[in-house]
Amino acid sequence: MLAELNELKVYFYDQRNKRFIRSVENVSLGIREGTILGVVGESGCGKTVTALSMMGLVESEPGIIGGTFFFRPDDDDADELEDTILRGLCTKKNYRRERMYNLFCGLDDYIEFEQSPFTIIKDSEKWLRRTNRVMELIRGKYISMIFQSPAQSLNPYISVGQQLQRTIQRFHGEMNKYEVHGYAEELLRSVRLRRPDVVMASFPSALSIGMAQRVVIAVALCSDPCLLIADEPTTGLDTTNIHRIIKLLEELQMERNLALIFISHNIRIVSAIATDILVMYAGIVVERGTRAEVTKTRRGPRHPYTEMLVSSVPGDADIKRGKRLREIPGSMPNNKKEMDACPFLERCPYAKGSLRRKCRSACPEPVEVSPMHFIRCYRFYS
């Protein structure tokens, strides 16, 4: 297991209206080396926030208030990481499990979380700063992230070549100028960009969106990370580019044995390349399992939300017959209240009768319906 996130809770505080926004609630995910994890969900379900918290980029307060994030670095850096954690973050014994380190160690020292009244006491500054120090060792080097809009991920004031060079020099300090330049060109070639010299000399505003996204991927891979988080990399692109970028990501992942977390709201794209799939809704994980289990099986157990997501994509037969598109009625519940029922209740077609009472009582816990396939639904409880 390369990285394991457990029970992540991220809350934000709205100063003006004096209330909490439960962004992410008890999200757990695990990713193994060399696999692709797809995260699917509507806008606002907390996927981006989860990704950002894995990178330590959540800056609003209070931010991350619970959970552990175990990560396994390379052996040569393990000592340095251990030092930083021990010195800065916490000295508890559970900062390490086998060869994995908890990057959110010490969180419970700084947080007191009471359910009612909903109070969080946090010495926010200190913990943020300390985790930041730990995260700085990890960021970019082991975990890289690419964002949704490529044009906005590149610094518009410096040329592409310079951006590449800065990043390369940061992680490969021993290279001289020519080596850096050569490595940069090689990276650009590896993302299938022809004429890397021209690309390096140009500014981001001169690139087309497909090219820009490839450059962003190239920059993210500068340091040869073991985990790449792609936050909706295809959302801003047109269809031909989507296809190309996905193919590119697949190939890169195979070449470098990358672990990839692919976040999208389009389940079709995700199921095209992912090995495991995570379905999120309203800040919680509603289903987790391998691709086969989650998407392909017609009769197999599935969360109602996943089912509706999959069936909302029209098949070829449906299109030919001119059938009406199937949508999921309603919208996400207000995440400013306590979660006292299953969040999907209002939109679930199965919540009827006696089942409904259960659905209303509390949020369901994950049930393992088959090995490594978890669903949060009362239908599978027995």
Binding site: Y13, R16, N17, K18, R19, F20, S60, E61, P62, P117, F118, T119, I120, I121, K122, D123, S124, K336, K337
Partner: protein, 297 residues
């Protein structure tokens, strides 16, 4: 340690326009409060001095009472001619109050006018107005003032009028950029298609609703600059002349007595100037951060 409390849930429709009171942070409130305090004492002093009531005669020379340090009798002490400094300070507000208001009215009205014209009807009037404004803009303000002094031998009112004129380019460029941005907004297009007349569009929507903040802030900052200019000119001797009190010439007259240890003659007017300018500056700054706060984070 910060505590976050969750109060009751607000279920009504969220308002998109957050009222001013909620947008202000503590810092802004303090700045604006202080600024308003300054404005109020300016107004009070001005009315007192104009109506010649409540205070001792600022011109009354009383050699026997020279160089008295601040006391209950003379709040700020007396100067080298025995005149009460406090009353001279109060009287000194006359030197810049009306001229200052004159200056900012000229700069804001004409700035607004030119800004709107060049922003809205860019094609026709732009070139000529630009040229004229550029000429004014190219001459450093002090040089302009000195030239005016040479040409006209002016009173402080005329000087301040020209100071106002010299600020027109800056204000009009602010307004023009605002107009440029607003002109393209959808709500203008919507207004036009609803049949609103051009003038109502301009005055009501663009000017009043959106540019009001820019103007007020420019006026406030402009006033503080005017005060600084007036006091500096009086210090140099080309503004208000003795025996009429101005904070600037009080500092000038008092500075020679530093070496004798009688620092209050010079220091007190300087402190008053400092507090006034700081207050107005803070006022403008606080207003700026309230009006222009971007709703991010």
């Amino acid at each position: 340690m910060k505590r976050y409390y969750y109060e009751r849930e607000i279920t009504n429709i969220e308002k998109f326009y957050v009222p001013l009171s909620k947008r202000a942070s503590v810092r802004d409130v303090v700045s604006i409060g202080f600024g308003l305090f300054v404005v109020s004492y300016l107004v009070v002093f001005f009315t007192i001095s104009v109506t010649n009531s409540f205070i001792k005669d600022p011109m009354e020379i009383n050699i026997s009472q020279m160089f008295l340090p601040p006391s209950m009798e003379h709040l700020f002490g007396t100067d080298y001619l025995g005149r009460d400094i406090f009353s001279r300070i109060v009287k000194g507000t006359e030197a810049f109050f009306i001229p200052g208001i004159l200056s900012i009215s000229i700069s804001t009205t004409f700035g607004l006018l030119f800004g709107i014209v060049s922003g809205y009807y860019a094609k026709y009037f732009s070139k000529g107005i630009f040229y004229f404004l550029n000429i004014i803009d190219s001459i450093p303000r002090i040089i302009l003032i000195l030239l005016i002094v040479v040409i006209f031998n002016p009173s402080i009112y005329l000087i301040m009028a020209f100071v106002g004129i010299s600020s027109i380019p800056k204000v009009s460029s602010y307004i023009k950029s605002k107009v440029d941005v607003l002109k393209r907004q959808r709500f203008i297009e919507a207004g036009k298609s609803l049949g609103l007349s051009e003038s109502s569009l301009i005055f009501k929507h663009i000017v009043w609703l959106s540019s009001k903040s820019v103007l007020i802030i420019q006026a406030t900052l402009g006033l503080s600059e005017t005060i600084l200019i007036e006091t500096s000119l009086s210090y140099l001797g080309i503004g208000v002349q003795e025996p009429t009190p101005s904070w600037g010439n009080m500092v000038a007259m008092g500075k020679d007595f530093f070496f004798q240890g009688k620092i209050w003659l010079s220091t007190i007017p300087a402190l008053v100037i400092m507090v006034t300018i700081m207050g107005l500056y803070l006022l403008g700054d606080g207003l700026n951060s309230i009006y222009n706060e971007k709703v991010s984070r």
